[in-house]
Symmetry: C2
Subunit: 150 residues, 2 copies
């Protein structure tokens, strides 16, 4: 059976999606510089730690799909901000377990509530079904990312 979605459409959609993501991500970074005190990257990592519980830096690097040195730096920053805590890994003396502390959870909750954030501001101008489309797109992007985990 012929594919419902021929490859030309797919690569075209891929291009459009890619450009939209790149541009939106740029806008997000720019806004974060303003006020929040935490860059979009740092926020995403903090959310990841929160979701995955105590986790080693290496696991986290894999989750976020960055290299370990990059994660080392991000974690150092989150630690300096007092949002995470490390405990020695009982199973491996080379490693440690990273977890979000109270301050970090508070910060995440606050960020999640921010009505004036770039995206929240814009979402409020959309129809409910458009918001729903974006919510499902977000879930799909995460799923796509996780699928390639191996």
């Amino acid at each position: 059976m012929a594919a419902r979605t021929p490859d030309t459409d797919l690569t075209d959609t891929a291009s459009q999606l890619r450009n939209a993501i790149v541009r939106t991500s740029r806008a997000l970074r720019q806004e974060a510089a303003g006020e929040s005190g935490l860059s979009p990257n740092q926020t995403a990592v903090l959310a990841s730690i929160n979701r995955s519980g105590p986790v080693t830096p290496s696991e986290l690097a894999d989750l976020e799909r960055v290299k370990r040195p990059t994660m080392t730096r991000t974690l150092a920053c989150l630690e300096r901000e007092g949002l995470i805590e490390r405990t020695p890994d009982p199973a491996d003396g080379r490693s440690s377990l990273v977890a979000v502390n109270d301050a970090g959870r508070e910060r995440l909750a606050r960020l999640r509530r921010r009505k004036s954030a770039y995206l929240a501001r814009r979402l409020r101008k959309l129809d409910p079904e458009e918001v729903e489309t974006l919510a499902r797109a977000a879930a799909l992007l995460e799923r796509m990312r996780e699928d390639e985990q191996g």
Copy 2:
């Protein structure tokens, strides 16, 4: 009437979308480093020039929502790669008009065809209606960006 989409949902969706975008954008950058020869940013700018025809650097900076010095650097790079051309702006001696040349159009077409690109690869594993959701999300993101143009 009560909003179909209460603010709590909105800010929550905003958070999820934001993290998904940040992470996907990271993955895109990483892939681009590999092979394509053009970063996602440079690609997005090239596509923008192609879409908007001959355009001044300032207009382009506004379109992409970056500052002028940033655009100067990106244009310098695209020019070095031989993908764009500048002609003096007949209407303003301080400025110039930037346009994609044949090599640039060829490059864009090639990128659009790349079936092995990060997103294209993953889109092929989704249902058609999921692909459709992402396509609509891309359009929405672009629209949201343009709405704030002022």
